[in-house]
Symmetry: C2
Subunit: 134 residues, 2 copies
DNA sequence: GCCGAACATACCAAGTCAGTAATATGTCAG
DNA sequence: CTGACATATTACTGACTTGGTATGTTCGGC
C-alpha cells in the first residue's frame, strides 16, 4: 500500500530510486527521459516517482502533457540528522567524505561546508530520530 | 537469503535496526539486553544482528556464552558519501549541517583528499541491480 | 556427565515491494 | 472530433523480508 508515507530511509533503500535522485540532481527530467536512462518500463518509472513524490523527495512541474520532475532534497535532512551522531566516529576515512564534498557543484559558499570550526559551541544536538514504523 | 551482503541503505531501512545502532552507540550490549530493550523475541533480535553483522555495521566480541555487540560505523561512510552531494542543497537548514560539523572532534585538516575523483557517488556499491532480475 | 543459560539457526505464516501488462486520463495536432 | 503521444493508475505475479515458534549448540556450574 502506498498511501502510507515512508521515511527517506525506506525510500532510498531501493538503488533505482537513488539513481533517479542522482539523475535529477543534474537537471529536471521528464518521465520518458528517466525511463530511458533507467532501462525500466514507463509504469515502473512512474511508480518509483510516485514513491519519491509521496516522500517529498521530488516535485512535479507539468508542462502540457509532459511532467518535469525535479529534486526536492529537504527530506534528506532527516537522513542526515540521523547520521550526524555517528559521523565523528569514522574519522579515519574522512577522505571519502572529503572526496565527495569535492564533487559538489562549485560555487555557492561551499567554504561554509568546508571549514570545520570545532570551537563552535553549538548546544542543540536534537538527536531526534522519529523512529516511526512502516 | 541472508548470504547476500546488503548495502547500508537497505539495512537501515528497518527502524528496528536503526534503533539497535542507536542503542549500541551508547555502549556495547549483549543480545539479551537488546532483546529486552527492543521488545522483540530473542531470535528476532539475533536475526537483525545477523543482518547488521553481515553488513559490517556491528562487531561481536564473545565472552563465555555471552556475545557483546558493538558498533562498527565504517559502512555508514557509504551512506554519508552518497548524501554528500545533496547536502549543500537544503541550505535552509544549514544549521543542521553546521551542527553535525561541530560533532567532529577536531580539525582533521583532511590532508588526504582526492585519490579518486569520480563523478558518481556509490563508492562501494555498483549502481546496478544488487542481485538478479525480478 | 548433567543441567541451565545465552545465543544461533531452521522453519513457517504474513505482509510488502518490484516489475510487467493492460488500461485510463489528458493534451496536442490536424 | 479523431488519432497520436506522454503519463498515471490498476491488477497481478513472484520474490523477498519480518516476526514468531521450535530446535540446536556452546559454555559454565554442579
Amino acid at each position: 500500500m502506498f498511501g502510507a508515507v515512508a521515511t527517506p530511509f525506506e525510500v532510498l533503500a531501493e538503488p533505482t530510486r537513488r539513481r533517479i535522485l542522482d539523475l535529477l540532481r543534474e537537471r529536471p527530467r521528464s518521465v520518458g527521459e528517466l525511463t530511458d536512462e533507467l532501462g525500466l518500463t514507463q509504469p515502473g518509472t512512474s511508480k518509483h516517482l510516485r514513491v519519491l513524490r509521496d516522500a517529498g523527495l521530488v516535485r512535479v512541474r507539468p508542462d502540457a502533457q509532459r511532467r518535469w520532475y525535479e529534486l526536492c532534497p529537504e527530506p534528506l535532512a532527516e537522513l542526515d540528522a540521523w547520521l550526524a551522531p555517528y559521523r565523528w566516529m569514522w574519522a579515519g576515512r574522512l577522505d571519502l567524505l572529503e572526496q565527495h564534498l569535492n564533487t559538489m557543484p562549485n560555487g555557492s559558499d561551499s567554504s561554509a561546508a568546508r571549514d570545520n570550526p570545532s570551537d563552535h559551541p553549538e548546544p542543540g544536538q536534537p538527536d531526534g530520530r522519529k523512529t516511526e514504523d512502516r
